[in-house]
Amino acid sequence: MNFRADEEGIRNGKDSRPRSQCFGHRHERRIPVRPTNVLVMTLALLLIIPSLGLAAASKATITLWYPGGDITAGVNDFVDPNLWAEFEAKNNVKVEAVALDYDTMKQKMFAAAAAKNIGDILFVDDTFVAAFVKEGLLDPMEDSKAKAWLAAVMPEIKLRSEYGKGKMWGYPQYGGDTYALTWNKEHFKEAGLDPDKPPKTWAEFREYAKKLTKRDAQGVISRVGYAFRHVGAASGIVHKHFWALEGAGARLVVPPDALRGGKSAFNNEGGKAALQLILDMIDVDKSTSLSFPDPRAAFLKGIASMQYSELVSIKARQPKEAPDLNWGFGPPPVRKPGDVPVTLFGGFIFVVPKDAQHKALAWKALEWLNSPEKDYELCKKNEATPRYRANWEKEPFKSTPYFQTLKALYPGAVVFPINLGSDGVVEAVGAAIQKAWHHEASVEAALAEAERLANKAIAEAAK
């Protein structure tokens, strides 16, 4: 760079640099202030501002945030714009479904709420509700609407909807996730068991598992009679052992409908028996092991004969991953003959955040979407169990065996406690299960510790 030349040029008045690079010279162009210009600008403003307002007032858009992908397959008709056509026309709104990632959905919603920029309707796991209520994120449903709903739906749906006496925070979606015992019919036949009859009691369950287990040449188990979940998120572990815990009389939180307060009730004889069941199967029967931590995958791969988890995921995955699998589903075994088999019942729910821009419209849209007519129409389309009692009187729900089998599961349906401290309770129980089955602690010690932690979590959340 030749500084000298430039400097000389400036000194001699021969400026070698273009005008724009001269510092200190500002070549500005201003719009001259003349009456005609002022008039034009005023007119323009007068035209633009109202039309903006009109545009805004003409059509509101309600956004519905939901987890995209396979996880909502079969329960996400709201994604289809045609579904909303009737509602949109009557109310002059547009409904827009926005897909989120299931993994990080909760954080995304929380951050959006903090920025006051959140969707109008949220379609979430019903396990989110407790945390969201605790943070003050949700708008409660109007009492009259809640009353109408609770009076018209099936008892297990009422269980999922109510958060304390008559209070609702949203509409639970159809296609509730039922947990069921699934078994491999070919394995049953091979072991000389009736392929259409699952084990009814815990004793039978242990016998079946023993018969179904297979070993390889070295004596290492190559196929377990029953695969169980013992790693990963605590909620997954607890969910998948719920049938044994609740079935034996261990309760996560009592009373179950207490939003705040209450205490844990799983450190009792039933809880111990539930944990001991699997422990005995590992150590004594040797019909299962810790090496099959993903029960659904093991079941679909054919290296587990029985497992207990969400029915809908097996139903969705089996055609692709194990097209030749001949499987059955039914209620889990009970501890003693005569007990009612317990199944965990949960699913998705529509909620409205407190900071939503169009709250009233959102609730209106949800009422329309979850009306008896729409319930019948969509459940029929998706082969899901309807929520309204009246709809069960109609075909195909009334007489099809598939639906009747599902219906038979419902009396034993139990929902997860709604307590604000449930997260902590589940963590504690999950850790206890892991410790016991990993032989880290005795069943008694593990449950005692979990009880302490769970009560602490409940107390913390009640503050």
Binding site: A114, V231, L290, E440
Partner: protein, 305 residues
């Protein structure tokens, strides 16, 4: 303004400009501003938040003094996480440093393909910890992973690895050693090569054997490098997160829960920001304490010839 005052103002400005004061401030402004907003202020805020109950959505910040900290110390899960983190640090730092030194010594000799092997040993460092941990997650798989397959091949029983609350943390430690080996080796090698050969020659003339030379020349002269390695490895070991997140998520039964993972869970999954801030402060104090301790301790061993 009088002429006299105007002149002195110009003098001041000239002096300033010859010292480039304005330039200095302009040049450091972006860095200072950006750090200020996004690093310094948040650090101080985290300290403040640790004394509050933070309810972000309700925009409610309640001062609760030391309650977060007392809850922290009463929390068995956090105590477990702190213990696991300590176990992790106390195991991995000496082993990594030692292995790094051994390898560096081996590499300080002449042999074919030295550069090639050096590159091979260093390669794990350039991959992201997450991706490498994913590969090891697969290798640790109890049924089909390569480790149990190799064990089966030689007739030994297969191990549960990441599925056992007793083996999970050691399994993570083995991964971390693999990942960081090359770095320690490279640093030690540089340190070794900085030792003037005259020392060794003089010692040999005086009749010192190989081992004696190592003990009395190499180790003391490597002291600054060792200090650096110990401090650097400790700081990053205290902050371990990526591999735990991928390999075990803190399980089974919280046996691999470490402080940063617990912090992450409390803050970004449970939204307990005040509590998490307290955890962050405890972590910070630990790191500072260990760093200072190591630095002071090491000064005793530094030798200058």
């Amino acid at each position: 303004m009088t002429r006299a005052r105007r002149r002195s103002l110009r003098q001041v400005l000239t002096r300033l400009s010859s010292r480039h004061i304005l330039h200095a401030y302009f040049f450091i402004a972006p860095v200072i501003l950006l750090f200020g907003i996004f690093r310094v202020v948040p650090s101080i805020q985290t300290l403040l938040y640790s004394f509050y109950k933070v309810e972000l959505l309700r925009n409610r910040f309640t001062f609760i003094g030391l309650e977060n900290f007392s809850d922290l110390f009463a929390d068995e899960i956090f105590r477990g996480a702190a213990l696991n983190t300590l176990k992790y640090v106390l195991t991995i730092v000496p082993i990594s440093a030692f292995l790094g030194l051994v390898l560096a010594v081996m590499f300080n000799t002449k042999f074919h393909l030295k550069e090639f092997f050096k590159a091979v040993y260093f390669s794990p460092m350039v991959t992201s910890t997450v991706a490498a941990a994913m590969v090891w997650w697969w290798m640790y798989n109890p049924q089909f992973g390569i480790f149990n397959v190799l064990l089966k091949l030689v007739g030994l029983p297969s191990q549960p690895w990441l599925m056992s609350s007793r083996m999970a943390l050691p399994s993570i430690i083995i991964f971390s050693i693999w990942k960081n080996l090359g770095y320690n080796m490279i640093i030690y090698l540089a340190g070794l090569q900085a030792i003037p050969p005259q020392f060794y020659e003089a010692a040999t003339i005086d009749g010192a054997g190989g081992l004696s030379r190592f003990r009395h020349i190499t180790i003391p002269l490597l002291a600054p490098t060792t200090t650096f390695i110990l401090i650097y490895n400790s700081i990053s070991a205290f902050q371990v997160f990526d591999q735990v997140f991928v390999l075990t998520s803190g399980g089974p039964a919280n046996s691999t829960n470490v402080v940063v993972l617990d912090l992450y869970r409390q803050a970004f999954q449970r939204f307990n920001f005040g509590y998490a801030a307290a955890e962050a402060m405890v972590l910070f104090l630990f790191i500072m304490g260990v760093t200072i301790l190591q630095y002071v301790y090491s000064k005793r061993f530094e030798v200058a010839y």
